[in-house]
Symmetry: C2
Subunit: 357 residues, 2 copies
DNA sequence: ACAGGATATTCAATCGTTTTAATACAATCG
DNA sequence: CGATTGTATTAAAACGATTGAATATCCTGT
């Protein structure tokens, strides 16, 4: 007599139990490697695993999560996935999460506040156990995020410093980066250096500028305010490029000589390169240009863009390890003081900078 | 006397039922807008919704999915998220899914076959109701994917044509694109045109080349085989750039004159631009260069890259609508013949092409 | 006055796990 | 020898929703 025909294709834990001759409890304990499995005879484990394999059993994650109160997922909320800045952070997150039990659930806020809130909500609904926010730009989502602290949801923001709101943050050391950028041009022999600062609302902008000023004062370099420009506060990530083009053209029209230019980021730098070309100049012959970030484009443009690299994959990885740490200490959760972690930038030398001619 | 203190913060459907004075069934029916809610008095609905709101009730998706057998998720498996080609396809998918009940779950195979299989598995485990595969490059995942057909899982591949395996596919019309690229250079007056074809293993390569040949034969243009090169079959998406540099340098060294170059894709084109620059030439003055794809970089490089645009967002959107259609017809699932849908490419004119001097 | 349909609500079973407490037996201890 | 401890397994109660069948009431037409 054939075994009773299963009406649905679904193989359940009870099926495995029946077939293997043990109770559902035991099967569950073995297959989910619960603490109690310490007491299960090796032989039993073996047999259960074999039959599970043979039947092609796959646990139902919904039933499992419902009962165990664990979703085994971590929410990743990114501000704009089309910003090349994000992608390698995501890679870092993913690689770090890969060997763990956790699965990342990725949401893209498309740079819109409403979307951000909505997806944040959706992630809560999906019962993620922790949250990583990848924010290249940030308005004042602090409010939405602060609410999470009360729910004891582990949270780290990467790319922006919100440690003042007692939210764990991972960023590059922007101040050091600004310092390095300026230093690089200075060491090549540039003395008349223009700067395109980032949007005022972005904390990165000030920090990078601080670094440049620190270098200038340490080395007795004068940064003429007339050679300093600032990007406007638009939110579009691409606007850095347009801004770079315009502000560089302005600088050129001002007739004030400059042999080097520190751009806020790579997109701005590419804009500068474009502006130089439009006016019959070129980098680095007529003006050295250095960017910030080291987005993938930087290596592919001509000339290859010299830039200050953010260790993006490492940033993603670090952020991930932080939330994992919190998750592990679950109950004893010592309420680890959420603080800022800075990663060092590094200079990537390509072809857009050279000695002044 | 205060109401009984809830021991957990969790508000459940039963709580709403108690508080509103209706049974859990009714509450469920109302809040999930089940068919039966047609019969529920408007007043009742109102009251239930109000108390749910007041209590801050959020349904438990695990319980819900467990019982209803619906995950309300759609898997999106991308080959390599750092390929700029993908990003806008993802945007298209997301935007199309946004107004629906479905949530995309994104996985990145990191260009590795093993990862691909693993994530495919994970998505099945998560009980996604449909699958969209975003494949810029594709080995022969046909096998893994064919298995899905048997499980009646709606599936569409975007970016590669696997319609021969009876798998729904959405791609750009590569043949037409190749035709257009060649036509553009021809109309500018170029007659000595070099071509860097794509890797042999990529079906795109042949199709684009077919289109170029068709144009050539229609217009009596001779494509000298000595001006034709082909990228090697490496899998790294960035390799297009390196390949572009090398093959263009080869072409230049060959002393064979060419005033225009059709590159396989934008990265290859950027490589060509780099090679020209290295040898003291420049686009478009010494040689017009046209790419394919219109990745974000294309607009930001200097010179801006003339290219054949793939309507990426539209491709993502179309793919999504296709799986949604299948999901809607759930039971009557007429087993819609999975076939290929082609979207038209378009010429984007920038600064890397011009009349020959 | 009653069958039968439409409206409005509820009962109770169920989805597939995990987990707590219980059972059964063997070994060890004082 | 009774009590304790440690192994090995299981029974049964959750987890929080959905759903098919059942109940109850109200119309409406004949």
């Amino acid at each position: 007599m054939p075994e009773r025909k299963s009406k649905s294709a679904r193989v359940t834990l009870v099926d495995v139990a029946r077939k293997s001759g043990f109770s559902p409890s035991t099967v569950s304990i073995v297959l989910s490697e619960a603490p109690l499995s310490r007491y299960v005879a090796a032989q039993t484990k073996e047999r259960i695993r074999k039959t599970a394999q043979a039947l092609g059993y796959r646990p139902d994650i919904f039933a499992r999560s419902l009962r165990s109160r664990h979703s085994n997922t971590i929410g990743v909320l990114v501000f704009d996935i089309s910003d090349p800045f994000c992608v390698f952070i995501l890679k870092g997150i993913e690689k770090t999460l890969h060997p763990t039990q956790y699965l990342p659930i990725l949401m893209d806020a498309h740079h819109e506040r409403k979307q951000f809130e909505r997806y944040l909500d959706l992630l809560m609904e999906r019962r993620v156990e922790a949250l990583i926010v990848v924010a290249n730009w940030l308005f004042d989502e602090g409010k939405s995020l602060a609410g999470l602290r009360e729910k004891k949801m582990p949270l780290v923001v990467v790319g922006q410093d919100v440690s003042k709101k007692h939210i764990g943050s991972v960023t590059v050391d922007n101040e050091a980066g600004g310092y390095e950028a300026m230093k690089h041009l200075y060491e090549f022999g540039h003395r008349q250096i223009a700067v395109i600062r980032g949007p005022a609302k972005l904390s990165d902008s000030q920090l990078r500028w601080d670094g440049m000023q620190r270098f200038a004062s340490e080395y007795g370099l004068r940064l003429d305010p007339r050679r300093i420009r600032q990007l406007s506060d638009t939110l579009d990530p691409i606007s850095g490029f347009e801004g770079g083009v315009q502000l560089t053209e302005e600088l050129i029209r001002s007739r004030l000589k400059f042999t080097g230019l520190v751009a806020f980021d790579d997109l701005t730098a590419l804009g500068a390169v474009r502006a130089l070309a439009r006016t019959g100049r070129s980098a680095p012959q007529d003006c050295s240009v250095i960017g910030f970030d080291d987005v993938p484009l930087a290596a592919l443009s001509t000339p290859g863009l010299t830039t200050i690299r953010q260790p993006m994959e490492e940033m993603g990885s670090l952020a991930t390890r932080r939330v994992l740490d919190v998750l592990r200490e679950a109950d004893e959760s010592r309420e680890v003081t959420p603080d800022l972690q800075l990663l060092p930038p590094s200079l990537v030398l390509r072809d857009s900078t050279a000695r002044p001619s």
